[in-house]
């Protein structure tokens, strides 16, 4: 039954994935997401699932690979440096076509950086740090409800495409509480049901076919064919998974582009500017890959600047420029290191930018 509850982001994320059908969690403690393994260690045994604390992030992603290769619906959470360690595994999972749901509650970098919120994982998650031609869909929700709704869908999306799928949150969302409607719990495949529901998965050759899950293809023509096959899937994902929210573009003098928590800040800045007589709009990419380039076609002729509001040195600018195609100057308002701008700061900086471009 659906119910409205007040939950801390990290716990709501975990609950949503369980309700979405994932029953196996593998993880290694890292701030600011350690409530997730804690929650999973309490909940999963009660709900027909299994929790395993890995020896490292390398262990975690490979346990999830084994779980997915065996037909289980797995879930891993981590934060930026932990996600970096998992990149080898992500490339492997994509090559071997194994589904898993990943959650990155991101923090500051480079290196160990800080434990404060950051968005400097943009390139890491949208471009991928692993080797080879592969893609991972990435969603960046802006509220706990949206995060819950997306995470609830992720195990199904991962299964549908036989590919990892990632949600990018930040430490602020993980710690925040917001009323949230929890969806109804989906059925999770039992060990017995896997042999018929996922005949490609390892469940024993007694089922009538022998399953082999692998990423190695030594013959060039075979690997080429496989990569082409992967990219047919990615082309389908580009069509089916693109998500974006566009607000107040009509007649806008300035258009903000922001995702996650920063999109909420940009929305408030938009309201404040409106009150001061400056018409502002917002493009909020919800899927970071596939990136909603098409939404940028809606930027009106009235726009004098497009401004990325980011907790990074402007990692999203490349994608924004691909969308804007040089029609309007693209600018950046940012803080890094765990520092957060206020909406007022965004308003002031926006006015300055508008003076420059006018």
């Amino acid at each position: 039954m659906s119910e409205k509850v007040l939950m801390k982001g990290n716990e709501a994320f975990a609950e949503a994935v369980i309700r979405g059908g994932a029953r196996f969690y593998f993880g290694y403690p890292i701030t600011p997401q350690s409530e997730i393994p804690e929650f999973m260690s309490r909940e999963l045994p009660k709900r027909g699932g299994k929790f395993l604390q890995a020896e490292s992030e390398l262990g975690a992603i490979n346990m999830a690979y084994g779980c997915g290769a065996a037909g289980g619906s797995g879930f891993i959470s981590s934060s930026s440096p932990g996600i970096a360690l998992m990149q080898e595994g992500m490339s492997f999972l994509c090559g071997a076509e194994v589904p898993v749901t990943l959650l990155n509650v991101s923090r500051g970098g480079p290196g160990i950086g800080s434990i404060q919120p950051g968005q400097a994982d943009y390139n890491q998650v949208t471009r991928g740090g692993g080797n080879g031609d592969y893609r991972i869909p990435v969603f960046a929700p802006a509220s706990i409800q949206e995060a819950v709704d997306i995470l609830y869908e992720c195990p199904s999306i991962a299964d549908k495409y036989r590919n990892p799928v990632m949600v990018l949150a930040d430490g602020l969302m993980g710690q925040m509480m917001e009323p949230v409607m929890l969806p109804e719990e989906k059925h999770a495949l039992t060990s017995e049901e896997i042999s018929t529901a996922k005949p490609w998965a390892l469940s024993g050759s007694k089922k009538g076919t022998r399953s082999v899950v692998k990423s190695l293809r030594l013959q060039p023509e075979v690997l080429e064919e496989h990569v082409e096959h992967l990219f047919e899937k990615y082309a389908a994902m580009e069509k089916e998974l693109e998500r974006v929210e566009v607000e107040n573009l009509e007649g806008a003098e300035v258009v903000f582009v922001a995702f996650g928590t920063m999109a909420r800040l940009a929305r408030e800045a938009m309201e404040l500017l409106e009150a001061q007589g400056v018409k502002a709009g917002l493009i909020r990419p919800i899927s970071l890959w596939p990136y909603p380039y098409g939404a940028f076609e809606q930027i009106p002729a009235t726009a004098k600047a497009v401004i990325s509001v980011e907790l990074s040195m402007g990692q999203m600018l490349q994608d924004i420029n691909l969308g804007v195609k040089g029609r309007v100057p693209v600018k950046l308002i940012h803080r890094v290191g765990g520092m957060l701008p206020t909406s007022l700061e965004v308003v002031e900086k926006t006015k300055k930018i508008l003076e420059e471009v006018r």
Binding site: A54, L58, G66, A70, K207, S211
Partner: protein, 249 residues
């Protein structure tokens, strides 16, 4: 007429890609024969490593997946969570298990994961062309220690059975050799014991198989067998390093 020998259904009817004289074929066969004899082929899930035997799934007639380098024990731990009633094993070489995958194997063993690991120790990196392995003996030549491994430069070879036997998680640990009919018969008994312990839910089981690599050792197969006997067995003594059944008695 009653056949005196049949090929096990556990091995697919194809030629292996291993070099002439390599003992991977022997290791594959005794594992698969044992599963066949125990009637477990249809219920077994195997994990192949990175190394020469990355292609083990082309020869072993059971459901299998590949693992990233060294991660087979983590992969098998994940598989085990989904299928608590199947037979699960990893098959790993010395570079995979004893070097890059040391964290995964130690933790899987310490957790007492209910799967079996077959550790093929030939003291060298085969697939990449004969570099020094963590189990390369002092004085043994490789392409990254052309005058022989020295303690000063590369430290001492790792004794994995002895190391894992310090843990409380494993249920059965034995080191066997694949260099003579008698040793191979003993090895097959060890394989069976490991699977029996796994089926009985006793805990983690580990069989190290001293193996040869004639190509990268630069020896003929018979000479390699002899080299194993004289050198490897001296540093890596055969025997049972852990048996929870025996210890309980």
């Amino acid at each position: 007429m009653k056949p005196v020998f049949t090929v096990t259904e556990g091995m697919l009817p194809v030629s292996t890609s291993y070099c002439p004289g390599c003992t991977h074929g022997v290791a594959h066969r005794i594992i698969m024969e044992t599963l066949d004899e125990m009637g477990l082929l249809g219920d077994t899930l195997g994990v192949a490593p990175i190394g020469c035997s990355v292609v083990a799934h082309q020869f072993m007639n059971v459901d299998m997946c590949e693992a990233a380098h060294g991660r087979a024990p983590a992969v098998a731990s994940g598989i085990r969570r989904v299928h608590p009633d199947k037979v699960v094993f990893t098959y790993q070489g010395d570079g995979d298990l004893a070097s890059i995958g040391m964290g995964e194997i130690v933790h899987a063993a310490a957790r007492g994961e209910k799967f079996t690991t077959f550790f093929i120790n030939n003291g060298i990196y085969g697939m990449t062309g004969g570099q020094m392995a963590p189990t390369t003996l002092i004085g043994q030549r490789s392409t990254t220690c052309v005058d022989g491994r020295t303690r000063e430069q590369a430290g001492m070879p790792l004794k994995i059975c002895e190391l894992l036997a310090t843990l409380d998680g494993p249920a059965y640990i034995e080191r066997v050799a694949l260099n003579s009919p008698a040793h191979i018969r003993a090895a097959k008994k060890a394989v069976r014991k490991a699977f029996e312990y796994q089926l009985a839910g006793k805990g983690f089981t580990f069989i190290e198989m001293l193996s040869i690599c004639p190509t990268n050792w630069g020896l003929t197969p018979p000479k390699a067998m002899q080299w194993l006997e004289e050198n490897m067995m001296a540093y890596y003594p055969l025997g049972v390093y852990r048996d929870v059944e025996k210890e309980a008695q």
